[in-house]
């Protein structure tokens, strides 16, 4: 069984047949990854903001079923 470093060494050999990205492809992939991360971050912020706006002060009181039942005597 090969160790991790042996696998790495194998990958750097000239006869290794995997896909090797060109510098342009690497740059494009990195830019796409950053854009997706920013879009996801923005989406989380939008969901957070809409949740706060929709619930308002209800955020602190919790859902109805958690509140104690008031009884009248």
């Amino acid at each position: 069984m090969m160790t991790a470093s042996e696998v790495m060494d194998d990958a750097s050999k000239p006869d290794w047949t995997g896909v090797r990205l060109t510098p342009e492809q690497l740059r494009a992939r990195r830019a796409r990854s950053i854009a997706i991360a920013l879009a996801l971050g923005a989406f989380v912020l939008v969901i957070f903001a809409v949740t706060i706006v929709r619930l308002g002060s209800g955020v602190l009181t919790g859902p109805d079923y958690m509140r104690p039942v008031e009884t009248t005597k």
Partner: protein
């Protein structure tokens, strides 16, 4: 039996290519008209919800643009105006564009439905469907009335904005719809007049290709004669103030004058180019005036006599 597998190269598409795929200039006009629909609607919408609605509409419009470029990649490659788009240029594969477009379409509609309201989401879904399935797939390649009927997709955003703000059925959003609907033919036919060879090469039956220049120039004038009074209608019906009415009348008069020049033009396309350029300004200023009218005290008729 032998199986041939296509070699899939790793993508070289940059962020800018994907933004281009969403037709940012069309998107900005969609967002602006939706904003006007949202602002002139009765009632109050929280700024965060309003912003979310506009974001969803923008993404939905971008999705429709991407799906349009995916389906039209073959004809885009044959036209000088569109040959530089990401798919014909080889920056994005058709499959990537389709995946991007479908994902954004579903995402924008679901988000609008969950975060804003279902009527706005249904209208957005219908707009994307109409633009992609009815206009792009069906009408664009089959009839010279393509942009007339297809124009409905571009005219719907103010109604989506109106619905997002909680507005129900009313004349006002229908008026906004009609203004953009009747604006679309003179706008695109003015462009197609000086791009006739492009459209003919791509096999798109635009009016100048099928019916000739003279008929196109006549129909540009006819639609402009309907559009100009429609532009003034919000004031005439009491939904907007006199300031809007004066501006709409003046802009409409300039538009008719330009359409008349297009009608009379025998050589060259100077008037057609001027009409195309001014038509964008016309729509922008008309909707900006509605926005000003509403912001200066509205509701949509604050200064009405």
């Amino acid at each position: 039996m032998s199986v041939t597998l296509a070699r899939v190269e790793p993508s070289i598409a940059g962020v800018g290519d994907y933004i281009e795929l969403m037709k940012p200039r069309v998107m900005s006009l969609v967002v602006f008209t939706a904003l006007v629909g949202l602002v002139v609607a009765p009632g109050h919408i929280h700024p965060v919800i309003g912003f979310t609605a506009l974001l969803c509409i923008a993404v939905g419009a971008g999705a429709a643009g991407a799906l349009n470029m995916w389906y039209d990649a073959d004809i885009d490659a044959r036209m000088a105006r569109t040959a530089g788009r990401p798919i014909p240029r080889g920056r994005i594969t058709p499959g990537e564009a389709a995946g991007f477009g479908f994902t954004l379409a579903v995402f924008s509609v679901v988000a609008l439905g969950l975060l804003v309201n279902l009527l706005a989401a249904a209208l957005l879904a219908f707009t994307i469907f109409f633009y992609v399935a009815i206009y792009t797939v069906w009408l664009k390649r089959s009839t010279p009335q393509n942009i007339v009927i297809g124009g409905a997709a571009g005219a719907l955003p103010p109604m989506i904005g109106w619905a997002a703000a909680g507005g129900g059925l009313a004349i006002e959003p229908v008026l906004l719809f009609l203004i953009i609907f009747f604006w679309t033919p003179p706008h695109f036919w003015a462009l197609s007049l000086y791009r006739t060879e492009d459209y003919a090469r791509a096999g798109i039956p635009m009016l100048p290709v099928v019916a000739g220049e003279a008929e196109t120039r006549r129909q540009i004038l006819l639609y402009t004669l309907i559009l100009a009074p429609l532009g003034v209608a919000p004031w005439l019906l009491g939904y907007a103030g006199p300031l809007y009415g004066i501006a709409a009348a003046a802009l409409g008069a300039i538009l008719i004058a330009l359409a008349l020049r297009v009608r009379k033009e025998r050589e060259g396309y100077r008037a057609a180019k001027q009409l195309f350029g001014f038509s964008i300004l016309y729509l922008f200023l008309l909707f900006a005036m509605l926005l000003v009218d509403r912001m200066s005290g509205g509701p949509f008729g604050h200064f009405a006599a």
